[in-house]
């Protein structure tokens, strides 16, 4: 296994830093000490811990992004793949290599997808900050590390949200500087985070309490800790409205870096389907598997974790029903369970689930991979998940993939009628 979970890396550096002096941040970055913080949704959850890390002092500018697309032509507006960035990608630029009047060189770059932000960060040897890191650093104002309960701070944030989006954004230097020397964490643009898809607020914030029981497992995790923190609600709402390829006019990014260099991550490369994504998975027989090797067969796929007590057993049972409903045709179909829980879903654990649930190991493939690989695959499949108190809250996904890995049909509500899925599979199988 070439890559290791970045989570583990973070924990390791937490230990080393606590005994050492404040590390010197690289040029253009600031040292963020890390610590405990309580996120918006943390009513029942414990505080979350963030290890120390480095963070870009300012957002990535149009000028910096121009240098990136010059060096990596596949990210130029006319070249980029639609799976990586939607049609709004750099739409305010005058041309492929010409930001133009609407995108001043020193203003933050916007209209960039998560994949583009990630690739640009990687090109600099950095990564996107995690949501925890970003939220931790963003609690600070000019004088305090934690201003999150200061009414003046909250009012300032809301005032930005109350202002209309101007045509051209201001210089990144104009952003308010916080106690860590970070400029413009609020007030200029929204920012991408690595695990934006861990926000499960969903479309209808009013019913998260019940909706989440219906749609997600990890009950009770989504109740906000501070219902009057409108500013935080809006950040989480924005994140939950996004998909990896979305490009939004008020959404930019800044990069982060771990104190000890990050282990090689799953590089962002152009892909057409999830099967193009890099990274090595392990199946229930502990054999290495790439998603590319899944080609050539129609598959019904889900993501989850085998310890799940609520949603995943139901999803597996639905998939089993789909298999039965397909009858003899099921022989031509693969059933895939991608684990989001690399720590617990060992080959042995996955094998035992297959036995317990009396699944046919010839047709059923359970796969686990390190966190970074899981994350990129999840974003590509528009799958949301979040670790809360040792369990995952996650989307309920049953997807039908064609022989190239293209998602032809998806179901996202638990206990939905299986017929549309069966029909979609049959339609694919009947293609010459």
């Amino acid at each position: 296994m070439k890559t290791s979970p970045s989570l583990l890396a973070l924990v390791l550096c937490a230990i080393s830093v606590s005994q050492a002096e404040t590390p010197r941040p690289p040029q253009g970055m600031a040292f963020i000490p890390g610590g405990d913080y309580k996120p918006l949704y943390a009513k029942q959850a414990k505080s979350r811990h963030t290890a120390p890390f480095f963070m870009d002092v300012m957002q990535v500018t149009n000028g910096e992004f121009l240098a990136f697309v010059k060096a990596h032509p596949e990210w130029q507006r006319s070249q980029v793949k639609r799976s990586l960035a939607d049609a709004n990608y750099l739409t305010h630029w005058a041309g492929d290599l010409e930001p133009g009047d609407l995108a001043p060189i020193n203003a933050p770059v916007t209209h960039v997808s998560w994949f583009a932000a990630k690739a640009c960060s990687e090109a600099q040897g950095k990564r996107l900050p995690t949501q925890d890191e970003w939220e931790f650093a963003a609690r600070a104002d000019a004088t305090k590390q934690d201003a999150s309960t200061d009414p003046a701070y909250l009012r300032q944030l809301l005032e930005w949200y109350s202002k209309p989006a101007t045509s051209a954004l201001e210089d990144v230097h104009t952003g308010v500087q916080n106690v860590y020397d970070l400029h413009g964490m609020h007030g200029l643009v929204w920012e991408w985070v690595h695990d934006f898809n861990s926000t499960l607020l969903m479309g209808d914030s009013r019913s998260d309490g019940s909706l989440e029981r219906k749609l997600f497992c990890g009950a009770g995790s989504l109740l906000a800790s501070d219902v009057s923190n409108y500013a935080a609600f809006m950040r989480y709402a924005l994140r939950s409205s996004l998909k990896g390829a979305y490009c939004v006019g008020s959404l930019g990014f800044r990069a982060a870096q771990s104190i000890t260099p990050d282990a090689a991550t799953s590089r962002t490369i152009a892909f057409s389907t999830a099967y193009d994504l890099p990274g090595e998975w392990r199946n229930q027989d502990n054999q290495p598997v790439t998603l590319a090797s899944m080609r050539g067969r129609v598959r019904v796929l889900t993501m989850g974790f085998t310890r799940c007590k609520f949603a995943c057993p139901r999803i597996l049972s639905d998939m089993h029903q789909i298999e039965k409903a397909l009858g003899k045709e099921a022989e031509q179909v693969g059933f895939v369970f991608l684990s989001i829980d690399p720590q617990f879903d060992t080959p042995a654990q996955m094998t035992s689930t297959i036995h317990e649930r009396k699944l046919n190991p010839v047709r059923w493939t359970f796969l686990a991979a390190p966190t970074d690989i899981v994350q990129q695959t999840a974003v590509a499949l528009d799958f949301k998940y979040q670790l809360v108190d040792g369990f995952f809250a996650h989307s309920n996904l049953i997807a039908v993939l064609d022989e190239d890995g293209k998602v032809i049909h998806r179901e996202e509500s638990l206990g939905a009628d299986i017929k549309p899925v069966v029909d979609a599979v049959r339609k694919l199988l009947s293609k010459p």
Binding site: P164, D204, L211, K243
Partner: protein
């Protein structure tokens, strides 16, 4: 309980008939009785089960397709003439932009279709709606829509959750007729509503609504701003005030004066008018009233049944609606208000229906009689006698201090504590060219009242100022205070001047004179 109602109604009508049988009825009484009996008969025979359970109403099969006609307030799309349900496509664009809240006051509105309230949608029961929600690329926020007309979790909210620069599509069938509020339900919901994200969708019952001559769309809502009412400039949303439910603006159709003055809704004598009235809140319940009218029919809470007649004021809950209908008998301007009346005169909840046509002196005698009642005594007779015994003010400062007390008890109700007046209704006293040009004219107006057109700072006002019944000293003090404030020229008005004006300027015409 509701199932009993149709059986009781004819019985009740019979009782009424018997009781009234003894004495001679006037033609009007006869007419209204006949109407009542006819309506009761209608309710009891017109398949009441299907009125109460619209799902049981037989209908034609779905056929055809069309794009919904969407209108900005106060306009309403034309009535639906189809006798069958169809497939309707609705395309609604979300836009965040700065617009006028009041004269000199701007606000960043979040809108469904560019205006507040959002586009009015009109569909028919059993229509199948394909709903497209487009969020403009220059939006900062994700948005969605919860239509109260939708039967299903969230009313479409989760299905329509849309990031900036994207479009969501979902479908629903309009099972139940009625007038429904729609609004954005993205976190934080309160703020999305407080910024203007709401509107009305009418689901017409099978067979449609009774024909009327005019229909208008009126939606009440309140705004919470950082600065107080009237503070100029771009005002920002105040979460503190919203949480405390302490609104700065309570308005019809999204801004102060949106349907008042030149923007008044026109109508004619003899017409029957229907108002589709919504209340978006986000917090306040409306006591909706039209000054000088009585609602012939109110579809309470926007339900499909004309449930109440002869209503003066109808309650409209936040997130609710009402349909009101009334005939117009007399020309003039009819003022729409939230009869929680400080909202109307101090926070903007004023609309106008301007009715043209022939006078009907029998129904309403007109202005001569009104003059008789105004002439004697004046509006304010409660200025304490004691004050007349007070020694005259010794100097200008004392005059200003005393004048302030009079202003704050007599004048402020119309002219407002800061002298800003009420747009389209009461002229400002602050920086007033009219006032500064001629102190004697001002004295005369306070002494005798004022009626007719005046032009103040370029705006035309046509209201009535009553006589105030103040003595010379009080008039002098009040006016000196006004001249000393809000950018006026500082004129000191002396009681002797007031006396002079009182003696030289004739009082208004006596009763009966023209």
């Amino acid at each position: 309980m509701t199932k009993l109602a149709p059986r009781i109604l004819p019985a009740l009508a019979a009782v009424l008939l018997t009781q009234c049988g003894d004495h001679e009825l006037s033609p009007n009484e006869k007419k209204s009785q006949q109407t009542l009996i006819k309506e009761m008969a209608t309710y009891s025979t017109a398949a009441p089960d299907t009125v109460r359970d619209p799902l049981k109403q037989p209908d034609q099969p779905l056929s055809g397709s069309e794009d919904a006609v969407l209108t900005d307030a106060p306009n309403v799309p034309p009535p639906i003439t189809r006798d069958h349900p169809t497939k309707v496509t609705v395309k609604l664009e979300v836009r965040e932009h700065v617009k006028r809240m009041a004269d000199g006051v701007d606000y960043t509105f979040w809108t469904f279709g560019g205006s507040v309230p959002g586009k009015f949608m009109r569909i028919r029961q059993n229509d199948e709606v394909e709903f497209h929600l487009m969020n403009r690329p220059d939006s900062k926020m994700p948005h969605n829509i919860d239509l109260h007309a939708v039967t299903g979790p969230g009313g479409g909210a989760a299905a329509s959750f849309t990031a900036p620069g994207h479009e969501s599509v979902f479908s629903f069938k309009a099972l139940i007729p009625g007038l429904y509020v729609y609004h954005c339900a993205t976190a934080p919901v309160g703020m999305h509503i407080a910024n203007g994200m709401y509107g009305l969708i009418l689901v017409e019952p099978i067979g449609g609504l009774p024909k009327v001559d005019r229909e208008y769309y009126v939606m009440q809502s309140e705004f919470y701003t950082k600065g107080p009412y009237g503070e100029a400039g771009l005002q920002l949303f105040s979460m503190e005030k919203a949480l405390a439910e302490n609104a700065d603006y309570v308005v019809f159709n999204g801004s102060v004066g949106a349907i008042a003055g030149d923007n008044a809704m026109p109508a004619k004598v003899g017409e029957k008018v229907r108002l589709f009235v919504g209340n978006a809140g986000p917090n306040l319940t409306s006591s909706f009233h039209v000054i000088g009218e009585i609602f012939d029919t109110v579809y309470l809470e926007g339900g499909a049944l004309p449930a109440q007649h002869n209503v003066q004021t109808t309650m409209i809950p936040a997130g609710g609606s009402a349909i009101v209908e009334f005939g117009l008998d007399v020309p003039g301007t009819y003022i729409l208000v939230d009869h929680s009346i400080f909202r109307a005169f101090n926070k903007g909840a004023i609309g106008m229906l301007k009715v043209a046509g022939e006078e009907n002196k029998v129904v309403y005698s007109g202005k001569q009689d009104d003059r008789i009642y105004r002439l004697e005594g004046g509006a304010i007779q409660t200025i304490p006698q004691a004050s007349t015994q007070q020694a005259p003010a010794a100097n200008k400062d004392e005059r200003i201090a005393r004048g302030k007390i009079i202003y704050n008890s007599v004048c402020f109700a119309c002219h407002q504590p800061e002298g800003l007046g009420i747009p389209k209704a009461f002229p400002p006293l602050a920086k007033s060219d009219y006032l500064n040009a001629d102190p004697k004219r001002a004295i005369s107006n306070v002494l005798h009242g004022l009626q007719g057109k005046v032009i103040v700072n370029g705006e035309t006002y046509e209201s009535i100022m009553p006589q105030l019944g103040l003595n010379d000293e009080q008039v002098a003090n009040a006016l000196t205070y006004v001249y000393s404030q809000w950018g006026n020229n500082g004129t000191e008005v002396l009681p002797v001047t007031v006396k002079e004006v009182r003696a030289t300027v004739p009082a208004p015409a006596a009763p009966g004179a023209h």
